[in-house]
Structures are given as C-alpha cells and as structure tokens.
Symmetry: C2
C-alpha cells in the first residue's frame, strides 16, 4: 500500500505541483510534476482563479491521500508574501473541500529532510529529488522540484503509512512505522534512510 | 437598476460579510449581514473550509454583481496577517470561479469614504453605516459593520452603475454616472453625497 502525496509550493507567479507515490519500503516514484502561474500584471482574481482551477484539476486527476503545502511566513519578501499566502489559502481550501488532509512544512524542514541541511540551496534540493525519484535530470523550474521535495518530506516525516493511517499535521505516525533494516536497501532507499536519519538528529 | 455588492472583511477568527443594494439615486439598503469564523486552535484547513463554504453560500444565495474585499497588507499584525491573506484568497477565488468581478479597497479608503476621515475608528464607521442604511443600531461585531462599509465604499467609488457597467478595479465608472442635484436628496442620500464629496477631495 503506497501513500500518494501532492506537494504544492504556492505562488501567484509560479506555483509548483508535484505528485509522488511512496511505498512502505520507502521507494518513491514520480507520478506528475508541473508549474502553473500568471504574469504579475494580471488582476488578482484572475491569478487566483488560475491557481484554483489547477489545484482542482490536480486533486481530481491524481486523487492524493494527502496534500503537503509549504508553510508561508510573513518574514519573507513582503512584496510577494501576500500573494503567496492567498494562493496557499486557495490550495488548502480546495483539499479541505474534498476531505483530503493537509500538512504544512517549512522550507527549512524540507531542505533538512531531503538534503540533510536546513540551509541547502535550491540546486542541492533539485539534485537530491532527482536521485530519490531516479530521474534523468532535476525538474525545472525550481518550484517544480520544491513541490516534489515537499511531497517527499511529508511521506518521510509521517513515515510511509497507508491512507487509513494518515492524519494531517501529526508527527507521531513516523514512530509507529517499523523501519526496515538498512542492510537490504536499494541505493535510492539508502539515500532516503540516510537523509531521514539526518532529519531526525 | 440597483447594484448589489457583497463586502467581505476577511479573517480566520472572524470574517465579516455584508450585502447591500444601492440604487441609482444612491439610496442603499441592507440585504444581509453576518460573521463566520473559527477558534484559533482549529486546524488551518478546517478554518479555511468554513470560510470557503460560507462565501460559496453567500455568493449563491445573494448573487452579488460585485465582490468588494479589504486589501490586506503585510505591514499589519504579523501573527494574523497570513491567515487573513489566506482567507481573502479563498474568498476572491470563489467569486472568480463564478465570473463575479472583484474589487479591493484599503481600510483607509473605506474609512474615508464612509466617515470622511481615513483615520476614523471602528465606532465612527459603525455609526455611519447605521445612518446610511437606516438601521436601528450598528451591526455587531465590528467586522460585520466593516463588511457593509466596504460594500458601500465600493458602490460609492464606482458610482452606482447597473451590473452591466461594473468593471472590477476601475475607477473611471464613477465619473460616467450623472449625479443628481443635492437639493432633492433624502437625509441618507445627503450623508452619502457629503461623504462622497469628502472622499473625492
């Protein structure tokens, strides 16, 4: 039984979306990745409608077990943070309407979980996402890779439970899942286990 | 032909909603007013769902010609501004989904339009809303009065055009409407005309 996570890196100009399936043995597979967005000169209602229609389509097409969204902080760039927050509101409400649980993760949590360092740059995140998902090249633009990193981080921190065990925002699930011994892991699984170990330190 | 405006003062804890009909002769009538909200301890997705379901219900029940929303600034209280922005995103997207135009007004614009002073307090706004709409008492809580003030401000700044002339965000419409001579106005209309004159200074 695998867990399907839709990760969203919200934004009006570029909103990254990434879906991964994560199996109990921690093997993660790319399902879909993309970016939607609008020009800065477009009216706010038209921009939010583009985001709303995209998230509806992704939720209905991929039917994720859980939505993982980047937590937005007001300390960020003030010229874009309000639009980012508005976009995240639309995304979260779309999942809530469908009864899909929502989890929020900070950029630092995502970087730490995927690369082992909360201060990693976008390149490092993209490279690790590429390795973990066995891709030929990092997803572009960076917002797409960030969305996949969010999805992976969520499956990771939760432990890879089936949908029935998914509870938004709970961290306790991770401890409830027995981890397989590192010995029998594939290279991708070992990367995962190592990064997880780093994230738990 | 009157203009029906739904004003929304967004927020997670309290989201004010107010609907007014404004006639060509500038007489404004209360259609509905209310507040929805959630406890601070509730999960964000559940809070945004309450807002989403409320705005859907109000849009579908009252079928406004235009939605007027308070413009959110990141300079405000940082502990609540992100939630307010997320709620406003949900509200704006709900109107955009229905093809209902959206206009944003700042708190200062609303205070200036309704009371004549951009620095007016909530009491003064509530009292003027009460007078303009010929109510027995100011709507409570203040968020409800603020939503009505937003709706009135929008009709005002736009001029009271019919729905066909409504264009979100445009200020030019106000000048296209011939204003009736002040002499024949009712007391409520005179209040309106005076406040409008102040807002145009």
């Amino acid at each position: 039984m695998s867990l399907r996570v839709l990760g969203v890196d919200p934004g009006l100009t570029r909103c990254g979306l990434g879906v991964v399936d994560v199996e109990r043995n921690r093997r993660a597979t790319l399902v879909a990745v993309g970016v939607v967005g609008t020009e800065a000169g477009t009216a706010l209602d038209a921009r939010l409608l583009v985001i709303a229609e995209a998230i509806d389509l992704w939720l209905d097409t991929h039917k994720p077990d859980v939505l993982a969204v980047e937590r937005v902080f007001s300390q960020l760039n003030v010229s874009t943070v309000m639009g980012t927050a508005q976009a995240s509101g639309v995304v979260i409400a779309a999942a809530a309407r469908r009864g899909i649980p929502v989890a929020l993760h900070t950029p630092t949590e995502v970087k730490a979980a995927v690369t082992g360092s909360g201060g990693a740059n976008k390149d490092a995140v993209g490279k690790m996402v590429t390795k973990i998902l066995r891709l030929d090249a990092p997803p572009k633009p960076a917002d797409a890779a960030d969305a996949l990193a969010l999805a992976l981080t969520h499956a990771w921190r939760r432990g890879v439970a089936g949908p029935g065990q998914t509870t938004a925002g709970s961290a306790s699930g991770a401890r409830a899942i027995a981890r397989p011994p590192t010995a029998g892991l594939t290279p991708a699984q070992r990367l995962w286990a190592e990064a997880e170990a780093r994230a738990r330190r």
